[in-house]
Amino acid sequence: MTGPTNTPATGRLAVEVHGLAKNYGQVEALRGIDLSIHEGERFALLGPNGAGKTTLFSILATLRAPTSGFARVLGHDVVKERAAVRRGMSVVFQEPAIEQRLTGRENLLLMGLLFGLPSAQAKRRAAALLDDLGLADSADRPASRLSGGQRRKLELARALVTDPRILFLDEATLGLDVDARRGFWAHVRTLAASGRTVFFTTHYMEEAEVADRIALIDSGRIVALDSPRALKARLGGGVIRLETDDESVARTWLAERGFNPEGSGREIMLLHADPAAVLPDILRSMPTHVRRAEVHEPSLEDVFLKLTGRGLTGEALAGPGGRPGGSRGGSGP
């Protein structure tokens, strides 16, 4: 189940990971990750808190060194050739990485200098990016006085100052409203269309759908890696969700009838090849009252639930891959 599947046959590799493991003392945050990402791909990393997302992300972004295995970004080793990797990449962090008291323009200018652009070129680049992202009008206001969505766009602009070939986004839209998120991803799509590789982590399912391929990660391992469509096709058919007055009676009854009730809590989840055909019968004969019934296409959430027995966003999920990987500097509170 692990390992690259369904990789396009052509194109150069933007990311190449082999046997990557990371321990924090006793805790194994990553337990052998293999991964290839092609240039120009939009690649999403999905998993619950503590699954190892942030650790993998940090290693690829040259912020941490792996315990064993290797990772190459743009053909360069992320430990031995950090400087080369850094010249070709940019990162948008979950936390703000712009100086709130400086204006957007000043922030971009300084970042340009930091990345080695001459002052005049940094100025031109800043102006062009502010235009592109629709921030030109508010460019000379302190960043603290921008809206949440504008600030996130400014973060994206900051990351683009150097014209990176690969862009790492770590929960880049956390806390934004739907509109702002849409605006943000519209820009990311444009970037990917121009041949840049985009590697991102997210909590929002609909954002992951943007990706060409998704890696589902759990307890430090990749449990599935495929296109969103193929991942969902794995479940086959569709999903029935039921809410009943007596959940245990319903489960027992369903099991007797050869169904395989899944999901936890009040909501029962059934996977079936043809949900619409069996639902009427279930509703008619169920020995307890059905309060709510829903049929839908499998979502990524369902795929994850099926593969790991747990939800993606639910609480109390941190397995042994636990806290350090997930909560430090990344997907923590």
Binding site: T62, A83, I98, E106, M111, L113, G116
Partner: protein, 260 residues
Amino acid sequence: MMRGIYAILVLDLKRAWIDRARIIAGLAQPLLYLFVLGSGLGANSQFGGSQYRLYIFPGVIALSLLFTATFAAIVIVFDRQFGFFKAILVAPVPRSAIAFGKIAAGAVQAFAQGVVVLPFAPLAGVHLGILSTVELLAAMLLASAAFSAVGVAVAARFNSTTVFPVVSNALLLPMFFLSGALYPLQGTPHWMQVAAHFDPVAYAVDLMRGAVLGRFFFDPWLSVGALVAVVAAVGWEAVRIFNRGEDDSALGAARFNWRR
């Protein structure tokens, strides 16, 4: 490398400039020492009030440099709490350039704060000639660099904004008291004189006092050498700490960091 240092320097100075009101507020402490403590203690000492103010004037400048440089270094600890520092760490800038840039930025801020105190010299009974002004400024510059290096090297180890101020106070006050900023080292107990030899602030104070009064406790070249050595040694240590963060920490400090 040079461009990296320049970028960090510009970045920090721009941010400091936003808080330029701090320079005025930063005057309170040295003036308090000079005119309140100086007048009070001076009146009751063998110096006599005006003589004492003249005597501690260089010490008060050192105080100003020391506290401003350390305060500037706190920015490193603050930045760690946000993604700001991470964005700098993933830039293709050598960690040594980040360390040197931070040291330079702290030194410039400290020096500026020290210069602001100078116009009060006549009120303290200090009359500076051109030559002694130049000497004093040179000594201040060297001292600023040394104090800033110490501040950065210490701050680079911490990521807690509550711990660092406590630790830095525990370091700053002994360094200040042992420096002879407020009294001549000649009259102090032997152990204090010995301790002063290990205190960079003592060399800085002595060098500045020499520039103002023409009297030295240490050989001036020893003081210059000691301060240059501090800049080199502590600067190297700061680079080492920043580099160490390469291998295992998202934020650049290996200690006090992810294990909570």
